[in-house]
Symmetry: C2
Subunit: 112 residues, 2 copies
DNA sequence: CTGCATACCTCGAATCACGAGGTATAGTTT
DNA sequence: AAACTATACCTCGTGATTCGAGGTATGCAG
């Protein structure tokens, strides 16, 4: 059951979701596919990851939902608000810091 | 009340430890400081993180320990074995994949 | 003898990614 | 019409693991 805490994934679903919603309003099922697309298949997240993160983000008031009927199907569209955009910026900075730190460490030749 | 799973840190302690031990034998307390140094202060890990990871790595036979007395103090030096080096390579590939995926997603302009 | 750096350790808490499983509708295939 | 696939939403339990707080002990400087 579940690999759990797979290396290097913590915080990544939230960051990717925020990044996509920063560009345009989208719904859950669409986001699942969009993540595969924008990461060029490097990262694939299931619905069991996406929906809970979306709900958590909504509860924390970083985005709001609106239901929309399309072709007889009900979709829940999410969009970022100002608070969410601030949160995205903070996460991007964190990512940048960690990413640079790790890359720096990995690139350091034996002599350093 | 540790922050717990802080964004983007999962797997990072293990990767950094392996990377450092791939270069030379080191002991816990030394590794704590080395991590700060090689990441240029971007990442700082406490002993509460380092020791458990070291023990887990040892239990999984990725490295072995040997006690050494230096200036009346006992240090536990850890060194990587072939298995551990293989593990490091795998983790580096994982990191590379995630890192590239996230960076690609973040760099994608709104139009994509 | 007080404090600090060195050096090891354990524990509980909190988090969070994940797969499995569940519901329902629409369209296509057999 | 039955079966199957894609769309679209959801919840739950498991497991991994990061973290700070706290604990022990030695050597050395003030």
């Amino acid at each position: 059951m579940g690999q759990s805490n797979p290396p290097f994934m913590s915080g990544v679903p939230e960051l990717l979701l925020l990044r996509l919603l920063d560009q345009r309003e989208m719904y859950g099922y669409e986001l699942v596919k969009a993540i595969r697309r924008v990461t060029e298949e490097a990262i694939s997240l299931g619905e069991g990851v996406i929906y809970p993160v979306l709900h958590s983000l909504e509860k924390r008031s970083f985005l709001q939902a609106r239901r929309k009927k399309v072709d007889g199907r009900t979709r829940v569209y999410y969009s970022l608000n100002a608070e969410g955009r601030r949160h995205l910026r903070r996460l991007q900075e964190d990512w940048q810091r960690i990413q640079t730190g790790v890359t720096t460490a990995l690139d350091k030749p034996a002599g350093a």
